[in-house]
């Protein structure tokens, strides 16, 4: 079982960013798998929150999305958006948000709405949902996405969710809470978002520095990069047998 797929490595690296006791807003897919993996390994006290109004979700049943009741099984409490995005998130009790991104920029700002195509037309996606709320208000934000050149921008095409800086200024001056995007986990590397830009923290086993830099067409400081810890047998077993048995998200 020792070889792993890129999705396995992403889930494991993302789970390492989750601390015991974190209250974390997740969506379907890798964010949920990373949070459940953390809960089943080093962070048993983590609480998963779904924006639809579900607290303490632990379901590993394959589902069609956060509106699928399969994803709510085993929850500790139900409420509405005023409860989870209002009292819990706006109130400052959500310590971590895990978001996907169509694009991310050097300030950690996220485009989750729309992409400008080469012919200049705009392709819309599904809207912000609760992602903007999470990026505006969570203690810190972890972005999980594929490492492709078109996804890294100096400035995102559309700023759906604010990052670490707002127009180059500290986000608290803009009235926002939390640190914003702190870490980007991809299928090739782990990147820290700092006030000075993106810093390469680690490269996943099997990847090399030149190809990571080539796939990141923005300024990236590689000076302190080390190798990401490889997934353990136990982590791979949990992902493949229990958390994502159909391999919908981690293959």
């Amino acid at each position: 079982m020792s070889r792993w797929a890129p999705g396995d490595m992403m889930a494991v690296a993302a789970s390492q960013e989750i601390a015991d006791g974190d209250v974390v807003v997740v969506g379907l897919g890798l964010p949920q798998i990373a949070a459940l993996l953390a809960k089943r390994t080093h962070a048993p006290g983590v609480t998963l929150v779904l924006e639809i109004g579900v607290l303490g979700a632990v379901s590993t049943e394959s589902s069609a999305g956060i509106a699928d009741p399969r994803m709510w099984k085993g929850a500790q409490a139900f409420g509405g958006m005023i409860d989870v995005l209002g009292l819990l998130l706006h109130g400052g009790r959500v310590t971590l948000g895990i978001l996907g991104a169509l694009q991310v920029d050097v300030a950690g700002s996220i485009n989750s709405s729309q992409v400008v195509l080469e012919d200049g037309s705009v392709r819309r996606f599904r809207g912000s949902g609760g992602a903007n709320d999470v990026a505006s208000l969570a203690g810190r934000v972890l972005v999980v996405m594929r490492h492709e050149p078109r996804k890294f921008k100096q400035r995102v095409d559309f700023l759906t969710n604010p990052g670490r800086l707002v127009d180059g200024r500290p986000r608290e001056e803009a009235g926002l809470h939390g640190l914003g995007t702190s870490v980007i986990v991809t299928d090739r590397a782990v990147l820290d978002v700092t006030d000075a830009g993106l810093v390469l923290r680690s490269i996943h086993p099997g990847e090399d520095l030149d190809s990571v830099l080539a796939a990141t067409p923005v300024r990236l400081d590689p000076s302190g990069a080390h190798e990401t810890a490889a997934p353990t047998e136990d982590e791979l077993r949990l992902i493949r047998e229990e958390l994502d048995p159909h391999r919908w998200y981690t293959a």
Binding site: V54, A67, G80, M81, L85, G86, R126, D133, S136, P162
Partner: protein, 274 residues
């Protein structure tokens, strides 16, 4: 659905593929309602049907989808054709606007959407959103105007004859929608006498409710937790028609909406055995 007139603002209770008010929306499409302004935290099948049926002129929401079954194709098609306006907020911002409407507040402040292009767009599009200064700290804050929809249509598990209603599972923005609207219509799977529901379990209290319609499987083909699952095959069939658009989508509406007189007939045609 007499409460809904051409031009009404209507809050819908559905979310993606769960508790969509399909029975009511089919009726609105059949009645040929026009120029409806829909308010919904996250759009779902109910909103897509209204868009596809030509009833929708404006959508105020945080977006929407049919989860893994796909995006809201009918909404996107009308949007790209310039036939509808979409005002895109965050989820919390929609819930807060309804909450402020329910509370009768003049506005509600939030930190959500600060520093984003969602906010920039709304400041251009909508008189209902302002970038202000917190009078205490002096920092930027978003002021959201309340929404009091003309009508809210919400799916519930059970309601009594006074409108007290029970909703199992998470409730996203449906409670705020029901409490903010001038008239709230419930689609209840079961209607029971007053006094037979546990007061601890009430999600929507009776004084907010104008009418209760007893409709079984009212959210079908979307899910109602504890009652019935979504119908994967029907949703896939709907999405296939919506992706193709044109005649294929018209055939879907002819078969399942215009070609039936009631929700019971729709269920029968869709193969649901009551």
């Amino acid at each position: 659905m007499a409460a809904v007139e051409d031009g009404s603002s209507v809050a819908l209770g559905g979310f993606a593929i769960t508790r969509c008010v399909v029975a009511a929306v089919h009726e609105l499409v059949r009645a040929g309602k026009r120029d409806l302004r829909v308010i919904q935290t996250t759009g779902g099948l109910d909103t897509d049907l209204l868009a596809g049926g030509g009833c929708l002129s404006r959508l105020v929401s945080s977006g929407g989808s049919l989860d893994r079954f796909g995006p809201l194709h009918a909404v996107n098609r009308r949007l790209l054709a310039g036939e509808i306006q979409v005002d895109e907020y965050s989820n919390l911002a929609i819930a807060l606007r309804l909450h402020a409407g329910a509370l009768g507040l003049p506005f509600v402040p939030t930190r959500s959407m600060l520093g984003s292009e969602l906010l920039d767009q709304l400041l251009e599009q909508e008189d209902a959103v302002r970038l202000e200064r917190d009078p205490f700290s002096g920092k930027p804050v978003v002021a959201l105007a309340p929404i009091k929809p003309d009508v809210a249509i919400v799916h519930v598990d059970r309601a009594d004859e006074a409108g007290n209603a029970v909703v199992g599972g998470p409730t996203w923005g449906l409670r705020e929608a029901a409490c903010a609207a001038r008239e709230t219509v419930l689609l209840a799977e079961e209607v029971v006498p007053v006094g037979s529901l546990d007061p601890d379990a009430i999600t929507i209290p009776g004084p907010f409710v104008s009418a209760v319609a007893h409709v079984r499987w009212a959210a079908y083909p979307t899910a109602a937790v504890g009652l019935y699952d979504y119908d994967r095959q029907h949703l896939e069939m709907y999405v296939a028609a919506a992706v193709e658009g044109g005649d294929a989508y018209a055939r879907y509406l002819d078969e399942y909406v215009y070609g039936v007189d009631s929700h019971e007939q729709f269920l029968e045609r869709a193969g649901v055995a009551l």
